[in-house]
Every structure is written in structure tokens, then in C-alpha cells.
């Protein structure tokens, strides 16, 4: 990476010409092209520019290289047409996971393709044959990106400090825009931001963190991302501010700016999830596309994702409920009468699916992984949903779907967000994850008691999970796994057919959008999951925001019974949720909440309604809790979106 030692700060690099200034010499370029002739020529040209070149003829290899050396490259150049993976997909992956500038190139110079490059976030587009002159200046993209990153964090910090997030909103929003976020996301983002405004407070001394001009690049490992997501969820997606997150994470050497920029990406990711998930099938997609970090936490979110998926996607409330029910009911006592019938069925159906051992529950490690609930506390969420909102249900379903890695699944019905599953997944291992997903039914039962398995949700989640399965441990993209998951999930769902098809939506996951996820097999369990969950949760919210909110309030009240503690939390969340979910489905805020917590408090906010129903089952809750080992009482979530507090990661 650019070395401050070289004397290049954000500005210095630009100042010196490429000749006199040591930079950009030594720029580490990764070039990907399936054409060996072009590859050879490019390599030669880049070497002539004094760059350090690594060439690669397959996108998969390139991705794994990038993942292995998170800080090993400064910029990526990729061909558009490649046999194993579309260049744009690679572009998205890199942007999400590693946040490196990517230059696309092709012999095709049609406007449509060039535009596609732009919308996918490429920093430049070169037409073949590439001339060396074009390559001489690619370093500018690296510098520009670093400057932007730095500025963003700066802004975020200050904003938080003063306007309570107002400015930050804009800043972040603007930055988000750069990432080709959809316009609608922006809107929701904005509104969600407003909410946070009131909440942002402390950030008082953020400024001091932003003192260093150049922030060293931070590698957001799975663990780190999980921590991040947990902190965000705890604070509430909407209210999470870098300063607080930083404090909660308590990672030495991590600066507020690091967190701020990561948060921004995360929010974008959530937004994307939220935006995409609206199409239900996309849910997974959204998860995945979210900022890479989000993927990491996925595992924990798994549970939530499902819910999110359900909610977002189109998982019909019923299916969601079913899923949840299935999830809940299945494991052991999941099928609580409380749960709406359909919900129950869903879950129950799911549960069996869960392969006990494998999925998630692998409890051995994964129990906590339950990420299933990614964003949505599995158990919790259902509760909330159960109430009324369809959304909730959906969300819950998702949560449940999340497949809970069994543990997290708050089981209640949480459909273990598929996305969230990621967290769970990792532990489970890939197979498990898939299992989880597919089983949609919270396998949790194996682990703890099944309630978590809900996994159902929204097929979307499954998609999410799928991704995880493959790689979970890797952060690469939560979403990636999802696709796999969804697929499996779907099957499960279908079989259970409880869901009215909502579940099946997972099939929807297979949507192309999810493809992205698939690509990422590695999904950072932690990070991704969070996002996923969150996304999931949110999605549901979005759709039903209004419904949800209403539902929540009502459901929450009714559902509460499960556990006082939980109920309380849920309530908090509910209230918060409705607003949150309404605001942004982006998921950035609310989603986050969910995914993170899912673990036990289950207040899966959006899904809560759903959950609530499911949660009625005491045993679920307790089972969950036990598994999770998380204290139920965690009201601090303030439930931005998720009441998930303890997302076991």
C-alpha cells in the first residue's frame, strides 16, 4: 500500500510527477485477464511503469489472492469478459471485500459496457488494446481513493460531533453515492440518518482520532468485523457512531477513522441489501453486496438474515411465520402454540431439515454462531413479528431462516437470517451452513434446541447462507455464501412448503443478484453476517415498515410473554424498529441491529413480531439463551433494528 514513509500523504502523491516522485513506483497491481497474450503484454507494460505486478488468469484465483493478502495490493485491473467469472462480479467483490480501486478493461468499447463499469464502481475503464500511457497514470486512482476514505472518516467524526449525524448523513450519503448505490437507497438512508441525528451524541472527542493524516489501512478480518458488527448492533445500526463503536470494540490501534469508513461501507452494504431485498429474492443479494465487512458477521446474523430475507424479500408473512415456526417449533419445543400456525409450520419444517450436526449447530464451535439470526435475533424477532406486521413475520422468517446455526437462532422462530447465518456458518463449516440454510429449519435444535433453526426464512437467507457454507471462515463475502444457502434453503422451504412460497423465495435467492454472493464463498463470517442479517431484517422492515411498526407495537405487547426480559428488549426495539425499518431498509441501520444480536435477546426487532409469536415458547428462549449463553437482558440494544444483542459470533 502506499506508504506514508514515501512521503505521500493524500496530497503528496499527487503533487509529484510520476517521474520524480518515488511513488507510484512500487504500486502493487493485480491484473486479471483470461487472455494470456494480453496478460503478458500488460504485465510487461506495468513493469515498465515500475509497478509491482501480479498477474492472474482466473478471477477466482485473483479473489483468493486478494483475500489472502488483504493489504497486499493497491489496485486491481480486470478484464470484463472472463470465462469463470464476470469481470463486473469480480469488481463488486473486490469493492466490497477489499475496497480496492478496480479498473476494468475490454476490447468492447460499447457505451453500455462502459456504463456498467461505472455503475459497478470501477474507477476507470480501458479499451483494448491498452497502451502503456494509459497505465502510467493508474496510480491516481489509488491516491484518490485514499483521500476519499480519509475525508469520509473525517467528516463522519465531525458530523457526529456536532450535528448529531446530520452532516454525517450527507457525507456518508454522498460517499455512498459514489459507490453506485441506488438512488432509493439514498432516500431511505437519508431518512434513517435523520433518526440517528437525535441519537448521535457523544462523538465528542472524535476529532482527536482524526489527527493522523493518513490512516493506515486496516484489515478488517472476520473477527474484527464481527466485533464491529456486534458493536454496531448493540448501539443500534442507526445510532452507531464510530466513536462509540470504537470504544465498544476496544481494539488497540484501531482509529475512529477506520471505524468510520468501515461503518460507511457497512451501511452501504446494508442499504444495498435493503434495497435489493425488496425483491425478496434479492435479499441475499443485498447482503452480499453490502460492504464486505458486513459479511463477516454474517455468521452471527445468519439467523437474522433469514428474517431479513423474509421480511425484505417477499417472504410472505405467512411463510415467514411458517419458517419461523418451523424453526422454532422444530427443534424441540419450537412449535409453540403461540406461533402463528403458519409460522410454526415453517419452522417446523425447517427444523427437521437442519441437520443436526452439521449445520450450524455445529455447535461445537458454532453454537454461538448462530449468527443465523444475523440481524435478527432469531428468537426475538419472531416475537415481534408475530404480532402483526407482516414485515415482522417476514423478518422473522428470515431470521429463522438464518438457519440458525442452531445456537443463535434465538430460535424462536428466528429464521435465522440466512445472511446472518454466516456467522454461524463458519463454525459449522461450510457444509453445515448449507445445511442450516437448507434446513431452514433451525437446526438449532441440535444444538440447543432447535428453536433457532428457523432458518427458514426467506430463501433469501438461504442464499446468504449458502455462501457461507462454502467458506464461511472467510470473510470474503457473506453474501457469497448466501446464494448457496438460499438454494438449499429453498429446497427446504419448499419441502416444508409451509411457507406459502415465501420461503421458496429463497429460490429467488438464486437470483442473479445473489450470484455475487456465490462468488464470495468466503464470506467473512462475522462481518458478512452482520450485514446479511441486518439486511435481512431490514428488508423485511422496509417492506412492511409500516406494518411492522404497527405490528411491533402490537405484537410486542402480546408476544412479550416470552420473556420479560426479552420482551422488554423487544419492545424497545420494536419501537425503534418501526421507525427504523421504515426509514431505511437499507438495513444499514436496522439491519445491523438485528444481525448482530440475534443471538439471544432476540429482540430481533423487525422480526420481533414474528418472533414474538414464536417466542412464545419459553423453552425456545431459554434454549436459545442457554446456547448462546447470552444474557437475555440486554436492553441496550435500543434496538435500532435489531434487538439482537448478543450475537454470538
Amino acid at each position: 500500500m502506499l506508504n506514508p514513509g514515501q512521503g505521500r500523504g493524500p496530497d503528496s502523491g499527487v503533487a509529484g510527477g510520476s517521474n520524480s516522485d518515488p511513488f507510484p513506483a512500487g504500486l502493487r497491481v493485480l491484473v486479471v485477464d483470461d487472455d494470456p497474450t494480453c496478460l503478458m503484454i500488460l504485465e510487461r507494460m506495468l513493469r515498465t511503469c515500475l509497478y509491482r505486478v501480479t498477474k492472474c488468469n482466473r478471477a477466482e484465483i485473483a479473489l483468493s489472492l486478494l483475500r489472502k493478502n488483504k493489504n497486499g495490493f493497491d489496485i486491481v485491473i480486470s478484464d470484463v469478459h472472463m470465462p469463470d467469472m464476470d469481470g463486473f462480479k469480480l469488481l463488486e467483490h473486490v469493492g466490497l471485500e477489499m475496497d480496492l480501486p478496480v479498473i476494468m478493461m475490454s476490447a468492447d468499447d460499447s457505451k453500455a459496457v462502459v456504463l456498467k463499469g461505472v455503475t459497478h464502481g470501477a474507477v476507470d475503464y480501458l479499451i483494448k488494446p491498452v497502451r502503456i500511457e494509459a497505465l502510467k497514470n493508474i496510480w491516481q486512482h489509488v491516491v484518490r481513493k485514499k483521500r476519499n476514505e480519509w475525508n469520509v472518516s473525517e467528516h463522519s467524526g465531525s458530523v457526529e460531533e456536532n450535528t448529531g449525524g446530520g452532516e454525517r448523513q450527507q457525507q456518508q450519503r454522498d460517499d455512498a453515492d459514489n459507490n453506485s448505490s441506488s438512488a432509493n437507497n439514498e432516500g431511505s438512508w437519508r431518512s434513517s440518518r435523520k433518526r440517528k441525528e437525535g441519537e448521535v451524541d457523544e462523538q465528542g472527542d472524535d476529532k482527536e482520532d482524526t489527527s493522523s493524516l493518513k490512516k493506515p489501512r486496516v484489515v478488517w478480518s472476520v473477527e474484527l468485523h464481527q466485533q464491529f458488527v456486534a458493536a454496531v448492533n448493540q448501539l443500534g445500526v442507526d445510532k452507531a457512531v464510530p466513536k462509540k463503536i470504537l470504544e465498544m470494540m476496544n481494539v488497540p490501534g484501531l482509529t475512529r477513522e477506520n471505524v468510520a469508513s468501515h461503518l460507511q461501507k457497512y451501511r452501504i452494504y446494508l442499504r444495498r441489501l435493503g434495497g435489493v431485498s425488496q425483491h425478496q429474492g434479492n435479499m441475499n443479494h443485498s447482503f452480499m453486496t453490502g460492504p464486505d465487512p458486513s459479511f463477516g458477521p454474517l455468521s452471527s446474523l445468519n439467523g437474522f438474515d433469514l428474517q431479513a430475507l423474509a421480511a425484505a424479500g417477499q417472504l410472505p408473512a405467512q411463510s415467514l411465520a411458517q419458517l419461523q415456526a418451523a424453526g422454532l417449533g422444530r427443534p424441540s419445543s419450537l412449535n409453540k402454540p403461540g406461533m402463528s400456525v403458519d409460522q410454526r409450520s415453517i419452522f417446523s419444517f425447517e427444523n427437521p431439515k437442519l441437520r443436526n450436526g452439521q449445520m450450524m449447530m455445529n455447535s461445537s464451535g458454532g453454537n454461538k454462531q448462530v449468527n443465523l439470526l444475523h440481524g435478527v435475533p432469531m428468537g426475538m424477532e419472531p416475537r415481534q413479528f408475530a404480532g402483526g406486521g407482516h414485515m415482522r413475520v417476514q423478518q422473522q422468517q428470515i431470521c429463522g431462516g438464518g438457519r440458525v446455526t442452531g445456537q443463535n437462532v434465538q430460535s424462536s422462530g428466528m429464521m435465522m437470517p440466512v445472511g446472518g447465518g454466516t456467522s454461524v456458518l463458519p463454525s459449522l463449516g461450510q457444509q453445515q451452513q448449507q445445511m442450516m440454510l437448507s434446513s431452514s429449519v433451525p437446526r438449532r435444535s441440535d444444538l440447543t434446541d432447535t428453536s433457532s433453526n428457523r432458518v427458514l426464512p426467506a430463501a433469501t437467507h438461504s442464499v446468504v447462507f449458502n455462501n457461507f457454507n462454502s467458506e464461511l471462515p472467510r470473510n470474503s463475502f457473506p453474501l457469497a455464501s448466501a446464494p448457496g444457502i438460499s438454494v438449499s434453503y429453498q429446497e427446504e422451504v419448499n419441502s416444508s412448503d409451509a411457507k406459502g412460497g415465501a420461503v421458496i423465495t429463497t429460490a429467488g435467492f438464486d437470483n442473479p443478484s445473489y450470484d455475487i454472493f456465490n462468488d464470495y464463498p468466503q464470506h467473512n463470517n462475522n462481518n458478512d453476517w452482520d450485514l446479511q442479517n441486518i439486511g435481512m431484517v431490514f428488508n423485511s422492515h422496509q417492506d412492511t415498515t409500516t406494518a411492522a411498526s404497527a405490528a411491533f407495537s402490537s405484537s410486542s405487547s402480546t408476544q412479550r410473554k416470552r420473556q420479560e426480559v426479552v420482551a422488554e428488549q423487544v419492545q424497545n426495539h420494536h419501537q425503534q424498529l418501526p421507525s427504523q425499518s421504515l426509514n431505511h431498509m437499507n438495513g444499514s441501520g436496522s439491519v445491523r441491529v438485528k444481525s448482530e444480536r440475534v443471538a439471544e435477546t432476540v429482540t430481533c426487532p423487525p422480526a420481533t413480531t414474528l418472533f414474538q409469536e414464536q417466542y412464545n415458547q419459553e423453552d425456545l428462549m431459554s434454549a436459545l439463551l442457554k446456547q448462546e449463553g447470552l444474557p437475555l437482558v440486554d436492553n441496550e440494544f435500543d434496538f435500532d433494528g435489531y434487538s439482537i444483542d448478543n450475537i454470538p459470533v
Binding site: 487472455d35 497474450t37 503478458m40 503484454i41 515498465t48 469478459h81 476490447a107 488494446p129 502503456i132
Partner: protein
């Protein structure tokens, strides 16, 4: 000898077998990489032979999957362009156009032509490189007059 080499090269350009891109490649050649252009050309011919045989098989099947043919040709065109194989590139473009409109017969015809150009270029370049090697490295780095 060197003059001979230069002449040959010049004629290749004049006849349109090679274009400016080839010059670019030559400029990449230096003492550290004295045979760069030849290496690239070798690689190109090896890879394009593979592509040609793929296309041939696809055409022989008779099913005319234009999409797939177009994909192959896109790749082929890409590498031909990168090396500066001008005539080959032109044939590629034509082939893709026929694919686009679904003209099977046009595809077949163009493909034949393309193979011809490809073979010709290969021969000429082989000749050129051989001479160039004999003449000495200096020659190859010079631009055609």
C-alpha cells in the same frame, strides 16, 4: 541483414498485417527483455490456435450457437488486437457482425478468411523473428521507417 529485417517489418506494416500496437510492443522490449515481442507473438499464436480450433468445432457442429461463437471471437479479437494483428482483427470484427445478425453462412466464409490471414501472419512473423534474431537485437527495437 538488419536492413533486410527492417524491410520485412516495414512491408508487414505496409501490407496491413501489423499495426501500431505492434510498435508499442516493440517499445516494451529492452535489454532486460530482448525477445519480448517474439515471446508474445509465440504465446499469441499458441493461444489463438486453440481458439480457432474451438470455433471450428463449434461451426462443424452445425448448430450455430451464435452466442458462443461470438464469445470465442471476442476473445480472439482481444488478443489479436493486443498484438497488433490488424488483418486478423478485421476478420474477427466481421465474423462477430455475422454472428450478431445470425448469418451462418457469412460466419463460415469469414472464418475461412480469418484462418487464412492468421496463418499468413504467423508465417511472416516467424520469418521476421528468425531474421531479427540473426541480425541482432538492435533491429527489433527500431520503429519501422
Amino acid at each position: 541483414m538488419q536492413r533486410q529485417v527492417a524491410l520485412i517489418k516495414q512491408s508487414l506494416f505496409d501490407q496491413g498485417y501489423l499495426d501500431e500496437q505492434f510498435v508499442e510492443l516493440e517499445e516494451l522490449q529492452d535489454d532486460a527483455n530482448p525477445n519480448f515481442v517474439e515471446e508474445v507473438a509465440t504465446l499469441y499464436f499458441k493461444d489463438s490456435a486453440r481458439l480457432i480450433s474451438n470455433i471450428e468445432q463449434a461451426l462443424e457442429r452445425g448448430s450455430f450457437d451464435f452466442n458462443r461463437l461470438d464469445n470465442y471471437m471476442h476473445q480472439f479479437k482481444g488478443s489479436s488486437t493486443s498484438i497488433g494483428a490488424s488483418k486478423v482483427k478485421t476478420e474477427c470484427t466481421m465474423f462477430r457482425e455475422y454472428c450478431r445478425v445470425g448469418n451462418a453462412e457469412g460466419c463460415l466464409r469469414t472464418f475461412k478468411q480469418l484462418k487464412k490471414e492468421h496463418a499468413t501472419l504467423r508465417k511472416k512473423l516467424e520469418q521476421y523473428f528468425q531474421l531479427a534474431r540473426q541480425a541482432g537485437p538492435k533491429e527489433t527495437a527500431r520503429r519501422p521507417k
